[in-house]
């Protein structure tokens, strides 16, 4: 609709494909390839094999993967619950409260993650709330960072929800609790699934705040990967990164499938 001749379209699409390949596909493919490689001295890797992946799925690396998954699901789950609660409740609240909630919940997007990490480190390192040195400070950091996205996603979904459903339910005599559990939440289910997927993905890749607060007993996979690159083990880092990518994508796909009967095909 913009380009009408076959020739101009072909040229533009060729440039487009080249750009996408170089900018987006190449890095992804490289990391995956490097994970398979024994060494990479020329234009192409050599010594391809699964050895590094075996290493990536055992010992320390496997433990880190498990730590990342646990953190992602706990922090993501809590963030989803609290974000949904806040999104729904602030809609009923008076305007001033809704605006404050909106501003406060979006705060973690506005500030660098290291600042959040530093803040948590300083704030929760003493009594009465001693979380430093335990897994909970890491989970708390991820929770704070992911909460903003969960709140934002659920709020956007609530905006798109047709108010007629709620009106119909109320006219039929439903109490607010019944409207929430039987009508609003089931209709929000697809959006909640997508928000959960996003939350888990963001948590799996989080580095800035984690690196400020993590105890030696609770190393997430990105932290481990950083350690590997720091020590010069780039290939192993690539293999572990590929594992991280695959697990993240898997979580995204699985959680995105939660649609319930409310979704229109």
């Amino acid at each position: 609709m913009l380009l009408w001749s076959k020739r101009s379209r072909a040229i533009v699409l060729a440039v487009f494909t080249l750009v996408v390949l170089i900018v987006f596909i190449a890095p992804l493919a490289t990391v995956v390839l490097a994970g398979f490689a024994g060494s990479w001295n020329g234009p192409l890797p050599s010594g391809l094999g699964f050895g590094r992946f075996g290493e990536a799925l055992s010992g320390d690396n496997l433990a880190s993967l498990s730590v990342s998954l646990q953190t992602a699901f706990i922090a993501g789950g809590l963030a989803l619950i609290l974000g949904t609660w806040a999104a729904i409740a602030s809609r009923e609240a008076p305007d001033w409260l809704r605006r404050i909630t909106d501003a406060v919940f979006h705060l973690p997007i506005a500030v660098p993650s290291v600042a959040i990490g530093l803040g948590l480190l300083i704030a929760f390192n003493n009594r009465p709330l001693l979380l430093g040195g335990t897994r909970w400070i890491v989970i708390l950091a991820h929770f704070v960072l992911v909460l903003a996205f969960a709140f934002s996603a659920v709020s956007a979904a609530m905006d798109r929800l047709n108010p007629a459903f709620r009106q119909a339910a109320e006219s039929l005599g439903a109490s607010p609790a019944r409207v929430l559990t039987r009508v609003t939440l089931p209709l929000l289910l697809p959006a909640l699934g997508a928000a959960a997927g996003l939350a888990v993905a963001l948590s799996m890749g989080e580095l800035g705040a984690t690196v400020m607060v993590y105890p030696a007993t609770w190393k997430t996979l990105p932290v481990t990967i950083f350690g590997l690159t720091d020590r010069g083990q780039a290939f192993q880092a690539a293999a572990s990164t590929t594992v991280l990518l695959l697990v993240t994508l898997l979580a995204l796909v699985l959680l995105g499938r939660i649609r319930g009967r409310a979704a229109l095909r």
Binding site: A168, L172, G173, R261, L264
Partner: protein
């Protein structure tokens, strides 16, 4: 209160027709209800000074163009909007501050709003469960409601598997299942195509007969719906109530020019009242003296010599040869065949600045620019006051 003149039996004054004819507590009462949005200079009034009473079992249509306030009145009654002034009563009980869940009204929204994640029977049962109807009773009542709208075999379907008309019937069943004293319908036929509209109109008429004790209020912009379904019609414009009366009265003796034009389409021709005798008057227009109905509105009589509007429906006028006696010469401006009738637009000598619409039956082929004769019926029409 306004008087009822002894020799005008057919004309109900407007004050009286704001009340239902039956006795007892009205099912619905609007008392000076107003709804306004915004503050200070930016106030928009969605509804102003709306007062109305509806008797139990009566059907009332709120008719008006968009922005007339009819949907706002419905929302205020249902509780979806809180009035900024006035009170709303249901069977004599003040419900103005009551949330919608506690009002016991059945509402059928324009978009139907069937819960997409529930099957048809679950949708219909929703209101019963919310009202804590004993579990054993729910099944039979769901069946009863679905039977009433002819959707008994669709119980297990999901809403997205139903057509528009079927969805609407389920929405009606859902509202009726809780056996409300009042049923509200918001533009029930707007979303249906022409053919479906006809059959649904017939079904709604049957529904009305099947529920003699339920007061019904329709919101519509389509005057054909209002005429077909309502005992009384409330004509609204610009957030206000303009006229309320039975369909018959509003049609034959429209109190305002707005109602005359909105309900049925009309020619409103300026004329001068020559003389008044009882309910009739002689008026002069286009050099002719015609007799017209002159109903008294708000108890004020027509004065000889005053200006007025003659309201005459397009299908009541006749077109013939210009040489016929008593025919007013006119030129054809346009002629559009519409199937059952032809709409002919005439410009009449003696009536400058005004085009007259005439509906002739069948397909009339008249050349644009040709001379024809326009004949008024006897009486020529009904007098309507010129709006201030």
């Amino acid at each position: 209160m306004t008087d009822l003149k002894a020799n005008t039996p057919a004309t109900a004054t407007l004050g009286a027709s704001a009340q239902p004819t039956a006795g007892g507590t009205p099912a619905i009462t609007f008392d000076n209800v107003g709804v306004a949005y915004g503050r200070g200079k930016k106030v928009t009034h969605a509804l102003v000074d709306f007062s109305l009473q509806v008797a139990p079992g009566e059907t009332v249509a709120l008719l008006g163009p968009s922005g007339s306030g009819k949907s706002t009145a419905l929302n205020a009654l249902a509780g979806f909007v809180r009035p900024t002034s006035g009170t709303v009563l249901l069977a004599g009980r003040d419900v103005t501050d009551l949330p919608p869940a506690k009002r016991g009204i059945g509402v059928v929204l324009q978009s139907y709003a069937l819960f997409p994640h529930m099957r048809v029977e679950e949708n219909v049962a929703f209101g019963l469960k919310s009202h804590r109807v004993p579990r054993g009773e729910i099944g039979p009542r769901v069946t009863e409601a679905l039977d009433m709208v002819g959707m008994s075999s669709f119980g297990k379907r999901l809403p997205r598997e139903l057509s528009g008309g079927q969805q609407q019937r389920v929405a009606i069943a859902r509202a009726l299942a809780i056996r409300p004293g009042v049923l509200l319908l918001d533009e029930p036929l707007a979303a249906l195509d022409a053919q479906l509209r006809q059959s649904m109109l017939a079904e709604l008429q049957l529904l009305k007969e099947a529920l003699p004790d339920t007061a019904m209020m329709y919101v519509t912009h389509d005057q054909a719906e209002a005429l077909a379904l309502a005992d009384r019609i409330v004509v609204m414009n610009n957030a206000r109530l303009m006229d309320v009366d039975t369909a018959e009265n509003l049609w034959k003796r429209p109190p305002t020019s707005f109602t005359a034009a909105f309900l049925g389409g009309a020619n409103l021709i300026p004329c001068t009242v020559s003389s008044v005798i009882g309910n009739s008057a002689l008026v002069g227009l286009a050099g002719q003296n015609l007799s017209a109905d002159a109903p008294q509105t708000a108890g004020v009589e027509w004065e000889a010599g005053s200006a007025a509007l003659l309201c005459i429906r397009p299908h009541a006028l006749q077109i013939g040869a210009v040489t016929e006696s008593g025919a007013i010469p006119a030129t054809v401006n346009a002629s559009v065949w519409r199937g059952a009738t032809t709409r002919v637009v005439l410009s009449v000598d003696g009536l400058p600045d005004r085009l007259i619409d005439v509906d002739t039956p069948g397909h009339t082929s008249l050349q644009v620019g040709s001379q024809v004769g326009l004949r008024f019926p006897e009486p020529a029409g009904v007098l309507v006051r010129i709006p201030q």
